[in-house]
């Protein structure tokens, strides 16, 4: 039974990982990572890490991935550009990753540890339960626990400071691109004020109700001036 669950979860985890790497849309990559994390939680359960499996599903696949999805939908899921350049480097990278997999297999499976070919230590009903984990965190690993909470606090403050609106950059607020270089026009996918709270609340200044994009996209709204020619005028 555990073999069946192991192979299902293992294949799911590897397929999810491959999806993250191969899918070009970041949104689908995040969804694939969620599948990967849930499969990995099943593997954790097989390894008797019950608390970690629960934390994996609730914290990782739940909270952290929601953060990812928010950011993907905020900056717009830009598709990965096609690999027109440096394709030889890409092949080299995949070759390097394959070599890394082989090396890791040799390093772990070939380590000569007797217990690798066994099911591990004898079964202990208390192994990995939340109670045991909590007791260890509050006794032997108290310092690590406190440092982890402090690290989370610093990360939260740092993220707020990084992502805040800066006041010293007035020209950015008015929508002018900060970088004017050829080939970087894709840095401004939206017009000015798109996505701001002013647009959401419908209090854009006068004359800016229609927010123009940076350049006319091919799917732009058709106005009366460019009606298709009437049938009979042209050959088609």
């Amino acid at each position: 039974m555990s073999e069946v669950v192991f192979f299902m979860a293992g294949i799911g985890a590897i397929a999810g990982a491959l999806g993250v790497v191969t899918l070009s849309n970041p949104f689908y990559a995040v969804l694939s990572l969620i599948g990967h994390l849930i499969s990995l939680a099943a593997l954790f359960l097989l390894l008797q890490a019950e608390f970690l499996a629960a934390a994996q599903v609730v914290v990782y696949a739940g909270a952290v991935m929601v953060l990812y999805i928010f950011v993907v939908s905020y900056i717009g899921g830009q598709d990965e550009p096609l690999y027109s350049t440096a394709s030889s480097l890409r092949g080299l990278a995949i070759l390097f990753a394959g070599l890394l997999a082989v090396e890791l297999m040799i390093a772990t499976l070939g380590s000569g540890l007797q217990a690798i070919d066994s099911r591990g230590a004898p079964y202990d009903a208390d192994f990995g339960t939340p109670g045991e984990i909590g007791e260890m965190l509050l006794t032997r690993f108290l310092l690590a626990f406190e440092l982890a909470s402090f690290l989370l606090l610093v990360a939260a403050v740092g993220a707020v400071i990084l992502a805040r609106r800066r006041r010293g950059l007035p020209e950015l607020e008015s929508g002018a691109p900060a970088v004017r270089a050829p080939g970087m026009e894709f840095a401004t996918p939206h017009g000015p004020r798109v996505g701001t709270m002013a647009e959401t609340a419908g209090i854009l200044p006068q004359g800016e109700d229609e927010v123009p994009g940076p350049a006319g996209p091919p799917w732009r709204r058709r106005s009366e001036s460019d009606e298709p020619p009437a049938a009979g005028e042209k050959g088609w």
């Binding site: 934390a55 952290v64 550009p81 591990g120 610093v154 992502a163 950015l172």
Partner: protein, 99 residues
Amino acid sequence: MDIGWYLAVSALIFAIGAAGVLTKRNPLVLLLCIELMLNAGNLALLAFARMHGDMDGQIFALIVMVVAACEVTIGLGLIVALYRRRLPIDVDELRELQG
């Protein structure tokens, strides 16, 4: 299942994540691939913890999850800051650091 199988899965996932870090250009996907590598490390830690019957490895994996959450928060904050400054969301274009 033998512990070796878990280690093999962990090595494969780590290699896939490394391949993603080396080939992808979108920093968001790069962060996802780093998550893959951290999770592969977690799986190996738990496998070894099970092998030795010692729960220290599980505490280690828990701390790794905390560090991964912090890394995600800071990384996404950086990406949002890049987007606010209208810089290209592409690690090949972002070669230099300047305030």
